[in-house]
């Protein structure tokens, strides 16, 4: 059963390869392939989640025992994110039918497969490959909206991401040259002796900056506003909601397993703080909804980076809670942006025409600024109690910046909310196509319902996340799980 987990990566790939061929012969059959594959993936993962024995396990691909071969490391955290990937892939599936459909859906399947790979893979270079696959399929999907601005946004993103991958590759080369292995567990074993030095740190920072491009790390996040403003909202939701979190997950894993240097966390903390400041301030002045969301997403990711920089398992808990919360909220908000589209000015008085959407916006905004008892509050509570407990004054700055950012966030979000509830609707004609409008509103309602469910279940959820965090933080467990048999003789 466990072995079948690999299907969640293999089947979407297979589907992506075959989709254009099948679509050519039978469109009716073709449109179902993607959703069926992703649904099956969800089913596999959910099954594993429900019937698994909670113990992490490792799958050797190709039957080569790690560290020689590549393995998938499956613990609760990986499962959670893999499940989220497949589910969000299903939710944000590009249904729209036109001549580009086969390619778009194939790219989406590739995106989901590679994102799942990012969540599961236990090999550094394999992570890089999946990361690049995420990048390339993302480029294609952004450009698929085929406006000129989208092309420019894509090429700028591509260039930035290209430098990022050069740096990542460089970091991997450094690590390989130093240790002679790429397996994360093996590296974790060797790290205290071999990577706990300048070289290891330099390699980590190179990888951090490289992977940070997708995790919206300051300052390599300049692509964010333009891409989210030009790409299809469903794609933006997937990128902001999920892909950024997966990149964050990689950084977290590397930090937990391999790079324990305090300098590494300091860099992350500083960049996180700068990200919060820049993102939230920039969002304050934004005039259209997508860009506001893009900037606010930068700010939120900055907050998560601050959480990543926290050392112990409550830090991991904060990362998980904030990530999942942000995943839910940002996806929902982007769906609302899809529903309304365009400038904030057009939203004046919109509550009278679409009360549900306006209500959802208020709900999301409240949770985002952390109003108790919505889940956002608990995520933030975990973060700030943990921040306040640190001795390094830098963390205190982080705390203050975080609080300040929340005030700014509340002010710009509720400026929009207040605008929506103003009594006189303007006569500006809103230009949203009716079909995408209702679909995205339904999707947004789904996320709203999820948020409310999470509010009700916050206590068991908290316990569950706590267990996940403890497990994710256990380096020895990771090493033992992956390297069950003794290592093959090196030299």
């Amino acid at each position: 059963m466990n072995e079948h987990l690999v299907l969640t990566i293999a089947l979407p790939l297979l589907g992506a390869f075959l989709l254009p061929i099948i679509m050519r012969s039978s469109l009716a059959m073709g449109v179902w392939i993607g959703p069926v594959i992703l649904g099956y993936g969800c089913w596999i993962l959910a099954n594993l989640w429900l019937h698994g024995n909670e113990q992490p396990f490792s799958i050797a691909i190709g039957g080569f025992a790690p560290p020689l071969g590549i393995n998938l490391y499956v613990d609760a955290m990986a499962l959670l994110f893999a499940f989220a990937t497949q589910l969000l892939g299903l939710i944000f599936w590009p249904f729209r039918l036109d001549q580009d459909t086969p390619k778009r859906q194939a790219l989406m399947l590739l995106l989901v497969a590679s994102s799942t790979g990012l969540a599961l893979s236990g090999d550094l270079f394999n992570l890089y490959v999946f990361y690049e696959l995420v990048a390339v399929s993302t480029f294609g999907l952004i450009a698929a909206s085929s406006s000129s601005a989208a092309y420019v946004a894509t090429i700028r993103y591509l260039i930035l991401s290209g430098i990022g991958s050069v740096l990542t590759l460089f970091g991997i080369a450094l690590i390989y040259a130093q240790t002679g292995t790429l397996n994360l567990a093996h590296l974790a074993q060797l790290a205290p002796d071999q990577l706990n030095n300048d070289l290891g740190l330099a390699a980590f920072l190179a990888i951090l900056i490289g992977i940070g491009v997708k995790a919206e790390l300051f300052p390599v996040n300049t692509w964010v506003p333009e891409v989210y403003a030009t790409a299809a909202s469903r794609l933006s939701a997937f990128l902001a909601g999920l892909v950024s979190k997966l990149s964050m997950l990689i950084i977290l894993r590397l930090l937990l397993l391999i790079f324990h240097q305090p300098e590494a966390t300091q860099v992350i903390l500083i960049l996180g703080i700068l990200g919060v400041i820049s993102g939230e301030f920039a969002a304050w002045r934004a005039k259209d909804m997508r860009r506001m969301l893009a900037f606010s997403s930068i700010g939120q990711l900055g907050v998560i980076f601050i959480a990543v920089a926290l050392p112990d398992e409550r830090g991991v808990l904060a990362v998980l809670a904030l990530s999942l919360h942000h995943m839910l909220i940002k996806s929902g908000l982007f769906m609302l942006a899809d529903h309304w589209g365009g400038s904030l000015e057009r939203l004046r008085g919109i509550a009278t025409t679409s009360p549900l959407a306006a209500g959802l916006f208020v709900l999301f905004a409240l949770s985002l600024v952390g109003m108790p008892p919505l889940p956002g509050f608990w995520a933030k509570f975990t973060l700030i109690t943990e921040l306040a407990g640190q001795t390094d004054p830098l963390y205190m700055i982080g705390l203050l910046v975080f609080l300040l950012a929340t005030v700014i966030e509340a002010s710009y979000l509720f400026r929009v909310a207040a605008k929506m509830y103003q009594t006189k609707p303007t006569d500006i004609v809103r230009s949203n196509s009716p079909d995408s409008g209702s679909l995205s509103l339904t999707t947004a309602s789904l996320f709203g319902a999820g948020l409310i469910a999470a509010t009700v279940m916050v206590s068991p959820l908290g316990d569950g996340l706590q267990a996940i965090a403890v497990q994710a933080q256990d380096v020895d467990l990771y090493i033992q799980t992956v390297l069950q048999q003794p290592l093959g003789e090196g030299q």
Partner: protein, 159 residues
């Protein structure tokens, strides 16, 4: 044989030099196609670095010739990785070039600044907002709305 130190320095310098040249090109060029080329150069440097990581003195290519005693062979793993990395690079470059073609068709320029300006204008136009990059434009709406003058006139004082 050249002493190890020198060769080492030369090889590393080459790899890092390629990366540096590429990065410098990325920053200095204004033409998007040249930027993509600079990216290619930088990638070559990183790939070279990867290969160097597995290089070994006095060793042969990792291909078995006899079943018995084997000569020293270089590390096969970086070679495999570099193969992968090169192909990835090719894919990305091809994609980049195809995007550039489209941009040139639409905007008739590939200057990075001009293109960025045009993109900004288009985003603003699509969203239906005025572009707010201008320093002269009035400030954004304040979260703490000022008491308007008419309200003051009607209601009299303020602190």
């Amino acid at each position: 044989m050249i002493p190890g130190f020198t060769l080492e320095l030369i090889l590393y310098s080459t790899a890092l030099g390629l990366v540096s040249i590429g990065l410098a090109g990325l920053v200095l060029s204004h033409h998007l196609f040249r930027i993509v080329l600079a990216l290619v150069i930088a990638e070559a440097g990183a790939n070279l670095m990867l290969v160097l990581a597995g290089y070994r003195w006095d060793a042969v290519a990792p291909i078995l010739t006899t079943l018995g005693e084997q000569p020293q062979m270089v590390d096969p793993v970086p070679q495999a990785m570099v193969l992968t990395a090169i192909v990835i690079g090719v894919g990305i470059q091809a994609l980049a070039v195809s995007i550039l073609i489209r941009i040139r068709q639409r905007y008739h320029t590939l200057d990075r600044n001009e293109v960025a300006e045009l993109m900004d204008a288009e985003i603003a136009a699509t969203a239906g907002t005025a572009r707010d990059v201008s320093q002269e434009a009035p400030l954004g709406e304040r979260p703490i709305p000022p008491i308007t003058d008419d309200a003051v006139q009607v209601r009299g004082g303020r602190s």
